[in-house]
């Protein structure tokens, strides 16, 4: 059972309903504006994607470079002088 207050609320909503109806078609120039904005957004996304891809490739190249240098230095027995002197004093075999 609806109260008087509920009925008043329903009546007010029914009277105001036409003002809540949306627009049927976009205003002049709206479609062009949105399409241009979408195109611009896609262009920006493509730029960021390219930048991101390049950054990843550069990071990978740097990691590979560092790994190679570390490997080569380790192989050539290029020890820190302090470590080398300790090794000599203690007569430790360092390969």
């Amino acid at each position: 059972m609806k109260s008087r207050e509920d009925k008043l609320w329903e009546n007010l909503l029914a009277q105001s309903a036409p003002t809540f109806a949306g627009e049927v078609s976009p205003p002049y120039g709206f479609t062009t504006r949105v399409l241009a904005a979408v195109r611009d957004q896609h262009r920006q996304e493509a730029v960021w994607e390219r930048v991101g891809r390049r950054a990843i490739i550069a990071s990978l190249a740097a990691v590979v470079g560092i790994a190679l240098v570390t490997f080569v230095r380790h192989d050539s027995d290029d020890l820190d002088p302090a470590v080398k002197s300790v090794a000599l004093v203690e007569n430790v075999q360092v390969s």
Binding site: N11, L13, A14, Q15, G22
Partner: protein, 192 residues
């Protein structure tokens, strides 16, 4: 171009790079988004800007559209969640007293109270203002909820799906909102 298959075809054409399909999609989706935005527009937000923002969101996510649900449902969900996210940041206004109402609003309240519905085009604006004043005291998401039920006629299950709220949460909120509105109308009826 009104069946779900036609909509899916438009999406496919847009994905394939057909610009004219984009224009048709905007014209097709505009009334759907416009209706939702007008109903759930946050204060201080511009309607046209918000419709554009929702369309931009829609286009940036079109690659995710599977076509399992109608495009209109998919877009409605994006529009509603965008509005609800914006509304979340808003706060309810303080309680409005009878003395805060403008003379046309007070007159409309009295005539509606005493005579019931008096449909007239001139009164629609005053009725809208009065409804907005009554809803302004509610938390913004509650405002959206009561309008979805009482104005759009959406079912509680549908609202639960659209908002992601549980059915019991929807029912509980609705119960609380109705109590709040009844009390407000009673107070105005007693001129408090």
């Amino acid at each position: 171009m009104d069946t779900p298959d036609d909509h899916a075809l438009l999406v496919e054409r847009w994905r394939a790079g057909d610009e004219s399909a984009g224009g048709k999609l905007i014209e097709l989706l505009f009334p759907i988004i416009s209706r939702i935005v007008r109903l759930h527009l946050p204060r201080r937000d511009d309607e046209s800007d918000l419709v554009q923002e929702i369309l931009m969101k829609t286009f940036s996510r079109l690659h995710q559209f599977q076509g399992t649900a109608p495009l209109s449902h998919w877009v409605s969900r994006i529009a509603l969640t965008t509005c609800l996210d914006r509304l979340r940041a808003q706060k309810a206004r303080p309680e409005i007293r009878w003395s805060d109402l403008t003379p046309p609003e007070a007159e409309l309240f009295d005539t509606t109270w005493l005579e019931g519905q008096t449909p007239s085009a001139e009164k629609a604006i005053a009725a809208r203002d009065l409804v907005e004043r009554m809803l302004a005291v509610l938390p913004p998401q509650d405002r959206s909820l009561i309008l979805m039920v009482d104005l759009e006629g959406r079912s509680l299950e549908e609202i639960s799906q659209l908002t992601g709220w549980s059915l019991s949460k929807v029912k509980m909120r609705l119960f609380r909102i109705r109590g709040h509105l009844r009390k407000l109308i009673q107070n105005w009826g007693e001129r408090q």
